[in-house]
Symmetry: D3
Subunit: 237 residues, 6 copies
Amino acid sequence: MRIQVINPNTTEAMTATIEASARAAAGPGTLIEAITPVMGPASIESHYDEALAVPGVLRAVADAPADAHVIACFGDPGLDAARELATGPVIGIAEAAMHAATLLGRGFSVVTTLSRTRGRARDLAARYCPPHACRGVHATDIPVLSLSPESLDRVVALARHALDHDGSDVIVLGCAGMADLCAAATAELGVPVIDGVAAAVTLAESLVRLGLRTSPRDEYAPPPAKLYTGLLTGFAR
Amino acid sequence: MRIQVINPNTTEAMTATIEASARAAAGPGTLIEAITPVMGPASIESHYDEALAVPGVLRAVADAPADAHVIACFGDPGLDAARELATGPVIGIAEAAMHAATLLGRGFSVVTTLSRTRGRARDLAARYCPPHACRGVHATDIPVLSLSPESLDRVVALARHALDHDGSDVIVLGCAGMADLCAAATAELGVPVIDGVAAAVTLAESLVRLGLRTSPRDEYAPPPAKLYTGLLTGFAR
Amino acid sequence: MRIQVINPNTTEAMTATIEASARAAAGPGTLIEAITPVMGPASIESHYDEALAVPGVLRAVADAPADAHVIACFGDPGLDAARELATGPVIGIAEAAMHAATLLGRGFSVVTTLSRTRGRARDLAARYCPPHACRGVHATDIPVLSLSPESLDRVVALARHALDHDGSDVIVLGCAGMADLCAAATAELGVPVIDGVAAAVTLAESLVRLGLRTSPRDEYAPPPAKLYTGLLTGFAR
Amino acid sequence: MRIQVINPNTTEAMTATIEASARAAAGPGTLIEAITPVMGPASIESHYDEALAVPGVLRAVADAPADAHVIACFGDPGLDAARELATGPVIGIAEAAMHAATLLGRGFSVVTTLSRTRGRARDLAARYCPPHACRGVHATDIPVLSLSPESLDRVVALARHALDHDGSDVIVLGCAGMADLCAAATAELGVPVIDGVAAAVTLAESLVRLGLRTSPRDEYAPPPAKLYTGLLTGFAR
Amino acid sequence: MRIQVINPNTTEAMTATIEASARAAAGPGTLIEAITPVMGPASIESHYDEALAVPGVLRAVADAPADAHVIACFGDPGLDAARELATGPVIGIAEAAMHAATLLGRGFSVVTTLSRTRGRARDLAARYCPPHACRGVHATDIPVLSLSPESLDRVVALARHALDHDGSDVIVLGCAGMADLCAAATAELGVPVIDGVAAAVTLAESLVRLGLRTSPRDEYAPPPAKLYTGLLTGFAR
Amino acid sequence: MRIQVINPNTTEAMTATIEASARAAAGPGTLIEAITPVMGPASIESHYDEALAVPGVLRAVADAPADAHVIACFGDPGLDAARELATGPVIGIAEAAMHAATLLGRGFSVVTTLSRTRGRARDLAARYCPPHACRGVHATDIPVLSLSPESLDRVVALARHALDHDGSDVIVLGCAGMADLCAAATAELGVPVIDGVAAAVTLAESLVRLGLRTSPRDEYAPPPAKLYTGLLTGFAR
């Protein structure tokens, strides 16, 4: 099966990190197609960036039909719209990580990048999880494009604080750019640490294997044909 | 004061309807600047359309500073991002209508266009209102661009059904294109009927008069500077 | 238009503070009629006081029809009953302040007078707001009638603590007697600080301008005629 | 022990009904003191009536110290204020009935008098119960003072409808004036039918026997001394 | 009346503590029958223990019909199943304690034994109480069978911390083995301290006196006859 | 990898149905070990049955370490306790089905066996899902052991009703015994129909592949050693 993994920002290095995590998680016989969009922001650190990452995500989904699609930014930009477009299931990495977290403990904490993105993470937790499953969202204050293997100590220290302060038992990494820290953080923390990229890939594989896709009934049916104008003329359907 | 009222779709006729409602509601001394965006869908009837209406909304906010901004589509597209950009308050019409509705009764019902848009309306009710304030969202199945004065009977009949079925006492019109039906529907129904365009304009005026604007603390601070590429290069800040 | 602003306690000096805030907020052409009730407690600092402030509020509403009514105590005493009586909309200052706060940020904190009143403030937040919008209620432990311009430092210090501790981005002043501290607190804090008196006046104006009033359907219809006895004989209808 | 059972309205016949139910429920050694207040409405069928029943309730609590107090109107008027005043526990009959109902099944339905009172019943369910415990509130449209043994058929028919429609398994009688219908309704319906007066008396006895009373910490401490003026001068403390 | 009080663990000394508390709370004419089950764990400190305590509880309920049953472990093991079996009402001690707590204040804190049991206590609070009534669950880290009069200081110190930290006004003792600490803790803390054993006994008496029992409609009807095999053959019905 | 799939009831034919569904869903390289417990009820149709199915489930988990465990009854009996025991992740089929359903649409409806089991299904939805995801639970009134290919029409008809009545877009089959109806129901309904057995197997595979297991921190650490007596002596650890 072929799974398209979309990095919603336009930074190739980050696509490479995401691709590595996705390939490591994928089963034999799964083809990972990692995509950098043809338009949009270099990184996503505000509602503004996130909103403007969506056209690139939707263009990627429309252009390259796949058995399933993964949106690999922790804000899950364009998830609802992508579900209308795609013929296979679409999974966001925040969605996948939070689902996995609730299967592994009572409560999870998110460790993320900038403080200002915490509101979005909480919104997504409210959308995906039962109340109280997400017990805290904590910011390292490391910008997305500054994440590196050197960020590990700060991530681990903040995760330790979160486990104690929030009384949680699972850690969710709140940025696709942290995917390559997951193994080392797990080793240090001794609790499940979840990288949403890997979680989303295996979840997408599961749904494809079961023959499941987004319900075509009502809300997520293909979007009606529509005239588009200006810069976005090409998005007409 | 100057209030920018943005029609998030690109249909001029709908901008005219919105402008008329906004002007009728505005106080003396308020200048209404109604805007049709320079890019985007002709109407908004899916998550896809809504996501792709956002760039046009944000372009309008960025290009024409105003004392306040109203986003005049019932999905409130781009509200969070616009709040980061704008120097004055930003109000969505679903937000304004739902706020007004909860001041006037125990529970409201929304009467809207297509069935598939109901999920978004419920999401917004969950975001803006206390639980159970929104008691139902009902679809006339009239496409946005087919709304006309002739739609009144269908809207009124569905509103009557909603009041009884949901046990609600206020009606919210679920599309900016219904603004010109508000007076007649009120006369027929005998309960408050709320047009979000008018409600948003007066709410925006209130906030401006009080000197209030979006908090610049953390989440809604101006978005960080960022490189944008492709079609969206012009959105770089 | 004529807006009746009721100070639910019987202290004239507090009515004066409220009146000043209301007049400053009102638009041209709005007549503010500030009222001290003819019966009731000198200040409201308990459920007992609040319950016994209600007859005076209702007497004021019944005696002086107006285009709208504002109940200017942060416990919003008698709001439901006043809505049944009044021919125009009725707004409580906690209600108005909390509505405004949710339009301006992700989460607000309330800074109030005595610790024992916090339960009521939380009840009102649960009634008016989506879950989690109100992130904390903090008590200065200054009695209502001891509030003065000298209270500013304590209010500002507590607000700073609240913003940090609660992770909120807007401050709501939890007592009508703090109305005259609003401008100075805003200047010091750099986030929106909301005085419910001003917020309620502009919100009431908005509803009147839109021709909206409490729904007469079912719950808020005028109260049925009823025999009253004893001290309250005069409240018969 | 001595339990004061307050009928918040001023109709002696209703006090008699309440007293009979209270005495039938009370254990040996419990003295029931049923009270008709010295001021207030003849029956409670609106928020207006309910608010104006509170002074009479509070006067009764203040004048006749008892081991516990029961407020015998399904709106539980004045409960919070009475808790501040009383030296023993205070129980509302809606509170007691809803507590009992959740011990006996998955979900209960309330059968009450006028349609307009349903909002208050739902508010109380939200205050006292876990979400979803109260599955419906249904109005017989019988005014409070028209309740009689002849009301049984209508109450039972509506309860049957409620059990099926709401999927509930317990019925709560939504008015103290229905107390004398409880036994017959139980016999006909074959599910628990709860009269709040009886439930409140036994619950009050339980708390007294355990030596428990309202916490004096913070919110429910005795109300601060306060000047009262006008008609309510006598309520000063 | 005869109330069966089941200690779900198999430690006789703990049954004695429970029995003493139950007898002290029971009214004249109530016969307390305290039971140690014939199978199961010596104490309950995990989900594993709790699940395996249930067969012993159900055997006790089935073997000794009573007017009411109390399950005297703070995890309320087997409550739903016991309700299907019993002909009278069944009350868990967490259920009874939490019900009582919400009648006596705004918010309660639970003081319990091991940290790992807090998840279960929170689950039960979510099931029995309105949101936010339970403000915290705190662990003394004293194993169940190590509780003794010497535990008082630790329980009281933790309760003091909980009252302040959680802003609560009532304390619930989170283990049947703390029943004999209740009077002393109450004396020291000056707020209501609730022992679930005593609370459950008086609540059970109340329901019996009112002729109320679990609704036989649908979910809690007697369990259908069923073949059982292996070790559990004797549980066939 | 080796996944243990436990049928919590003792009916071999049902284990066979479960095993077939599990094998069909499993990836290459996954060994499915389907287990019928050595003790317990022939089918699970009450809280009583469910409670008494748990010892057999726990015995199975303890006796046969595996990379992951699936509990294949829609009540997810013993899930928390099994998580304490197992060294790999443990998934319940209601949990897996509900997780999958929320990835594929806005709201799902459950179609189940007996009416009396609906309360448990709703409890699990509240535990696993965001509020409002589960829009209804509907009973075919077919006993568990009477399910057969002939049940398809009734299941499909009820699912159609549920989709319309609840406004849902996904169907969850509420019994492991319906696993073999899934493909045919999907074909007839045209929306995703989810068999929890298949969903749980692929979800378990995902977690194992990612190296994730239940957090050993606090609540789900291995249960403390404990003396067991009577029939359950063998459960001592």
